[in-house]
Symmetry: C2
């Protein structure tokens, strides 16, 4: 009887994913090896869900925040948005002869990646400002979408959106099936990430927090548009992440996921709240399947986080040991 009713409810689309999943007794995180990291996730979610238990959190307060670069998708040889901007600078260069002798444009045009990599996130933001000012938000969106659809990663020769981490996609789905609301909190440009977040991660634009430039309302030929100004609005990195979360989300999440020291204060602030808290750092230690880097990397430097994670009770994920698969396209 129960099975018949359940089948009927499923057919009608009335059964949340979790019920279906519980009914099938499937592993919600099939790309995660059994071990301390996977166990800590499963136990945290169980605690938060347990009605009447000491760690129960009402669904409305189950907010989970994820860094993007290096946490949900790869970030080497450099932040993908950086590679997008570099391609854009090179494409525009013939119309902008003054860039030939001016840094950081010169380095980008000459493909001098050492100089370019040293720009860091802040230098990258400056470059974004310079190359896209004057565009409407709609023009910018089209430019990003065109690039995402055609550009290929130099190592994997695949679209950048293929380089999302399969175990993290499963984690996002697992949390959502347990009534978590998942947000991206990225150092990258909010308008860049929003162009693919829904399709790639199932995260709608309104659940993306990121760095931003100032936009201005204008009526052009009777049509209202928003124009990108050559002015920084907000850098959502480091101490900016808790600030951005407070500004955009307006309440303290109960779980935070990152991979670099740019995520440190986000994890610190999230896990300092009362009740059950969860902090997790993805450690890039798999040079074979992805890239191995941490303390000395230009993109995604992880130093303080690695030192302090144990005493702060944060889970450190070894991509090498904890993940069965890194990318969905792996065959083995």
């Amino acid at each position: 009887m129960e099975r018949i009713v359940l089948t009927f409810l499923v057919a009608l689309g009335f059964v949340p994913a979790l019920v279906q999943q519980a009914s099938a007794q499937a592993d919600p995180l099939p790309s995660w090896n059994d071990g301390a990291a996977k166990k800590s996730i499963i136990e945290f979610v169980a605690k938060v869900r347990e009605k009447g238990g000491p760690g129960f959190v009402p669904p409305m307060e189950r907010i989970a925040v994820f860094d993007n670069d290096g946490t949900l998708w790869a970030e080497q040889p450099f932040y993908f948005q950086g590679l997008f901007v570099f391609d854009h600078v090179r494409a525009l260069a013939p119309q902008r002869p003054e860039w030939k002798d001016k840094q950081p444009f010169k380095a980008v045009i000459e493909n001098d990646m050492k100089t370019v990599a040293a720009l860091g996130l802040h230098g990258l933001v400056e470059l974004v400002i310079a190359t896209h000012a004057g565009m409407t938000t709609e023009e910018f969106e089209r430019t990003v979408k065109d690039w995402v659809a055609t550009a290929r990663h130099p190592k994997f020769n695949r679209p950048y959106t293929d380089l999302v981490f399969q175990p993290m996609l499963e984690l996002l789905a697992f949390l959502r099936a347990n009534d978590f609301k998942t947000f991206i909190v990225s150092g990258g440009g909010v308008e860049f990430v929003r162009t693919f977040s829904e399709k790639v991660y199932g995260i709608p634009p309104e659940q993306v927090v990121g760095s931003s430039i100032v936009t201005k309302f204008e009526v052009r030929d009777g049509r209202p548009v928003l124009v990108r100004e050559p002015k920084l609005d907000f850098i959502d990195d480091g101490e900016g992440k808790p600030v951005g979360i407070n500004k955009f989300i307006g309440r303290r999440p109960i779980a935070a996921f990152g991979n670099s020291d740019g995520d440190f204060q986000m994890l610190e602030w999230v896990t300092a709240g009362t009740g059950p808290r969860f902090g997790l750092i993805v450690h890039h230690d798999d040079g074979e399947r992805e890239f191995a880097y941490d303390r000395a990397s230009a993109a995604g430097k992880l130093d303080r986080g690695l030192d302090e994670a144990p005493k702060r009770g944060w889970t450190v994920v070894s991509m090498k040991k904890d993940w069965k698969r890194v990318f969905s396209f792996e065959t083995k």
Copy 2:
């Protein structure tokens, strides 16, 4: 058979509100009188829902934005957040003797409401900045909650949160039952509105956009906090509203609801998009049940909107004629 299954589904909690409602054939907007305004809302929602129809909008894109002051709750004799700040200035005055001779503090302390009212939204924001700087976001939240719990409106002698418009609560619920995601886009302070938006409107903090001041991350006695700085971050009013929507929500809503010229550009931008669009202005013409004001008001001035609404196809709601009840506490 169908009825039995439906009853079973309802009992299990699996049936969305809309199905229950459709089954009961109830009026979703009982506090609205029949007329052009109510009809325009019902028809817009029906068009957007009609699968395969020319106006169908996928649920994820059904974003509706609401101004707060004067649209969802009253805003006379002055913006309620203004009255909160004035109370706060008066409470702090004994510790700040320098305010006695300094505008706008002097006017607030002496209850010179003419001078104070002339401050407008921008002057109010300056006052907010001055009075709450140095507080952590948690301290500010407690201060607002205490005020909301105890302060009383001068005309109605009720808590300010009683002065929400019953027809607008029904409209919010009706849209949500039809898979709209409802957002507040307020000229008021985002952290002020978020303290009560979930309880009063069913709108969670992460769906509130508003004016903001800069906050700074600090570790105080080993505890991470966010501190309010004496610096304006963003004014979410007029041309700022489409900018704020783009920044926080990241996609153009399909419906916008306002009451003043501070909402003009929001309605303009929202209704300029492709596909079905809906703009609505609440006109305060009921001096008996609420307040009658428009073109000359200090708070909630409505001039250009009143002139241009007809040619732009925006619905103008007469509170007097279109609303059976204004507040839930009315007995007749």
